[in-house]
C-alpha cells in the first residue's frame, strides 16, 4: 500500500537560481538607483542633486527636483533637467538603494 502522494520533486521545475542580490556592475548600480535621490558631479565640480528619472549608456541623465550646487551653495533650482553624459564625473546615491 503506497498511497502516499509522490514527492513533487519530479514535476516541479528546478528552483530559480538565487536572486543575484548584487553583482555590483555599473549596469546593476544604475538599475538600482533610478527613481532615487542622487548627486551628479560634473568634471567642472558643479553638483546636481535630484531624483534620477532616467539615463542611458552615454550617462546622459534626466533629473527631477534638481538643485544646482556650486562650492556647496545652492545656485539654482530646476523642475526637470537634462545633463549631457560627457560632462558627468560621477553619479552617487544620496539615499539607500
Amino acid at each position: 500500500m503506497d498511497e502516499s502522494p509522490r514527492p513533487p520533486s519530479d514535476q516541479s521545475p528546478p528552483p530559480p537560481p538565487p536572486a543575484q542580490s548584487h553583482t555590483g556592475s555599473p549596469t546593476d548600480f544604475l538599475k538600482g538607483v533610478v527613481g532615487k535621490r542622487v548627486i551628479v558631479r560634473l568634471t567642472s565640480g558643479v553638483d546636481y542633486k535630484g531624483v534620477l528619472s532616467c539615463l542611458d549608456g552615454f550617462m546622459n541623465i534626466a533629473l527631477e527636483q534638481t538643485e544646482e550646487h556650486v562650492n556647496g551653495v545652492i545656485t539654482n533650482r530646476y523642475g526637470d533637467s537634462f545633463i549631457r553624459g560627457n560632462n558627468v564625473l560621477y553619479i552617487s546615491a544620496a539615499e539607500e538603494i
Binding site: H22, S25, P26, D28, F29, N86, L89, S92, A93
Partner: protein
Amino acid sequence: MASQILPLELIDRCIGSKIWVIMKSEREFTGTLLGFDDYVNIVLEDVTEFETTPQGVKKTALAQTLLNGSNIAMLVPGSNGPEDS
C-alpha cells in the same frame, strides 16, 4: 612562458577590496570596489573623494558611486588612498 594576467583581470580580482582611483585631473577616490565594465566605469562603496586645490585637499564622503571611466587615469588595488602611502 609564464601564465599571463590581463590588466582587467587584475582589477576583477580586486572586487570586494579597497581600491584607489586616480583621475586625469587633481582628483582621487578611494573605496571598496563593487564592479566595473569594459569602459572601466567603476562602482565604489564607502567612497572618499580627495580634491587637491591650491587651498589644500578637500575630502568628500560618498555612498555607492558610479565613476565615469573617461576621466580615470590609474587604479591602485588594495590601497586606502593618498593618506595611506
